[in-house]
Symmetry: C2
Subunit: 250 residues, 2 copies
């Protein structure tokens, strides 16, 4: 039987979600904790990868076990005791046997946080930007992402996906308290490195290095070399993953 | 001439504000950075001490220099480059020669944050509480703090202060987003360890170990042994310090 597990992590210490030959991954920590608690070797499949240093307010993964969990609440509690303070488990929920954390996700949302002055309280969860930014112009450019589907210009080169098409449904900057600037972006899917490449390029719009029209040309070029340097990992967090109601069993 | 410097720090790595023979203090880091930038040995006097692991959204300290700072903005920038990511400087402002960061402060405000479930994003800035809490009752008890001045029951024993009287002007719990419970407390002054002792005792009210009336009796006992164990350091942050307008020069 298959379960979805909902977790949250501070990615600072990890080489990313995905297991790597060198470096500690969130996946490895979770698999080890699950295997210990359930007393059977467990593998998990995540809804997506997060890069080294990227966080997740909410990540979902699936795993299979032979017999049903009699009390998922106590499994959650045991996992939280076992896992380090930077990884938490919130829910384990039974799904259809063929439900897939990655392939069945219909929408994902990310948040990118920028602080415009040094902020010790956000040293792990925000990127710092020392220059002035024109947020209005950044929002004009961000809105263009909803007009296009081919996001090749913001994709890591040489990935193995069949299509670079993404349906972006939300892309906006919000000026929040305390000198914070928060970028919200939702899409049915994201390409590797896409949010950080989008943010890096929008920051160049914000500081006047690129115009809104340049941003449009970059999207249309379908060429990663046209976009700007990716924004740093620490500002990025996966915040939501949506599934159709049909995946849940109960 | 004397200046007030406004700083923010994440206290996790430090043995507290105050210099200690063993362990790194925020004061030491700040004095070293100031001495490097101003090219003269500088000592700072803080508005108060924070214990090991306690944070400050806003701490103020004073220091003296022989000649006026020609450009305080660039001193702030240089300090921020030099200081580690968990300490930030926001402002340096000239004050009256006799202004004193500690003695002239007329009000201070602290915040204590509790998370009711494990939260990696707040692992450094909140304490976790695994049991259910009756917030209404905690607020009833907290309101009693405004009726009394002698806070001996919440004071560290054997401190050298002349009086244990504090005028508490605000003491309330707020239920915030995301399973957070935040305690706001303001007073003209605080005794050592006072907020953490108050919070620890209010948590015992919240979980039903103490009644609101017991809390009143604890205040009236003027005896530290009556109060509960102090709440852990990581949940506490100094958030505001107020001075009379007369301290500022200009």
């Amino acid at each position: 039987m298959r379960y979805f597990i909902t977790i949250r992590y501070l990615g600072t210490r990890y080489c990313g979600w995905q297991r790597q030959p060198n470096g500690l991954s969130v996946q490895q920590c979770l698999e080890e904790a699950l295997s210990t608690v359930l007393r059977v070797s467990v593998s998990v499949v995540g809804a997506g990868r997060t890069d080294a240093g990227v966080h997740a307010d909410k990540m979902i993964a699936h795993f299979d076990v032979e017999s049903p969990l009699s009390d998922s609440t106590s499994v959650v509690r045991a996992l939280n005791s076992l896992l380090p303070p930077d990884i938490a488990v919130y829910e384990i929920r039974r799904v259809q046997a063929e439900a897939h954390a990655r392939f069945d996700a219909i929408a994902r949302r990310y948040r990118y946080t920028i602080v415009q002055r040094k902020d010790p309280m956000r040293m792990h969860t925000a990127a710092r930007c020392g220059y002035g930014l024109n947020v209005e112009r950044m929002n004009e450019a961000a809105a263009l992402l909803l007009e296009y589907q081919d996001m090749t210009s913001f994709s890591k080169l040489h990935t193995d996906v069949k299509t670079n098409n993404c349906i972006v449904t939300e892309a906006r900057w919000e000026c929040a308290d305390d000198c914070q600037l928060i970028f919200h972006i939702s899409a049915n899917r994201f390409l590797r490195n896409m949010v950080r490449a989008v943010v890096g390029t929008l920051l160049d719009v914000g500081r006047g290095r690129l115009s809104v029209d340049d941003f449009r040309k970059i999207i249309e070029a379908r060429d990663r070399s046209q976009a700007s340097t990716s924004a740093p990992a620490e500002g990025l967090s996966l915040v939501e993953i949506e599934y159709p109601a049909s995946v849940w069993l109960d």
